[in-house]
């Protein structure tokens, strides 16, 4: 899951080397924390949150497959 978010985020931002992804695994639910450079924040969120929403949609499809839930948190 972590790799998925990392790959997508790195392809969207201007500073891919500053993309950090942390996965906090729970029993049922994993929380995936995404950190990017400040000026790239808008790029991973998108107009009216469209990019963030698209990432969350793909993430939940991928985690359904392994019968888990994953929550994406974009951190400043």
């Amino acid at each position: 899951m972590k790799e998925l978010v990392k790959f997508i985020a790195q392809s969207l931002v201007d500073n891919p080397e500053q993309v950090q992804v942390n996965e906090i695994e729970g029993e049922q639910t994993s929380v995936i924390e995404l950190r990017v450079a400040k000026e790239d924040l808008g790029k991973v969120i998108g107009k009216q949150g469209r990019t963030a929403r698209a990432m969350r949609t793909i993430l939940s499809a991928a985690s359904t497959k392994i019968r888990k839930r994953a929550v994406l948190e974009i951190l400043e």
Binding site: L4, R50, M55
Partner: protein
């Protein structure tokens, strides 16, 4: 290819201006010299050099494997065994996913498919200068969906014509709205407008105004 004109005291300066405008090294540009400048006399009577410059067109073959590669990597990271075929259609890249797990990749009302398409388009745009359109389909889901949507639009169109009352459809994304508009475009008795804010708007199908049809009849003979 779109050419733009640039001026400078010399052709070199004009080319440098073009490079600054397109934000690429000027040797990458396609350049035509319109006229060579002449220095004039003490800055008087000189003619400016004029050139025409444009960005070279992206070789289309390069984008296809790139787009396919991006999608394949996403699918691999989703642990989704799928084969992707890529084809080019005018300015659009079509990516077709063949998978035993179509339902998962399509998602509720095509949500997951839309999300994939949106992200791949953005990721590809980041790697290329030009604007590209990417269409992703799984097991001909979109083709079927579009056909069903056009039929639905026709059905509601007939209903509006019969009742003379407008009908508001459920909120739809831009692609779907476009299909509805296109399906009823040729129909003179109806008009369609989108109403609402943001990504998901509602399409309203209403009878074309009576006044307009009367004008048609009483037009210049």
């Amino acid at each position: 290819m779109e050419f733009l004109e640039f001026e400078g005291k010399t052709t070199e300066e004009a080319i440098a201006n073009a490079g600054a405008h397109f934000q690429v090294p000027s040797e990458e540009l396609e350049i035509e010299i319109v006229s060579v400048g002449s220095p004039g006399f003490f800055g008087l009577g000189g003619r400016k050099a004029r050139i025409r410059a444009a960005l070279p067109e992206e070789p289309e073959g390069d984008l296809l494997p790139l787009a396919r590669g991006i999608l394949e990597q996403i699918l691999a990271k989703m642990h989704e065994p799928a084969a992707v075929t890529a084809t080019q259609e005018e300015d659009r890249i079509n990516l077709l996913i063949a998978t035993p797990d179509a339902g998962l990749l399509i998602g509720k009302q095509g949500q997951t498919l839309d999300a994939l398409q949106y992200l791949v388009t953005k990721m590809l745009a980041k790697q290329t200068r030009g604007k590209v359109r990417v269409a992703i389909d799984v097991e001909a889901y979109r083709a079927r969906h579009n056909e069903a949507l056009a039929l639905l639009a026709q059905k509601y169109g007939d209903k509006v014509k019969r009742s003379g009352k407008p009908i508001t459809l459920n909120p739809m994304n831009p692609y779907d709205r476009r299909i509805v508009h296109m399906a009823l475009q040729g129909n003179k008795d109806l008009k369609t407008i989108s109403r609402g804010e943001g990504l998901y708007k509602k399409v309203i199908i209403s009878p074309a105004k009576k006044k307009e049809s009367r004008e048609d009849v009483a037009g210049p003979a």
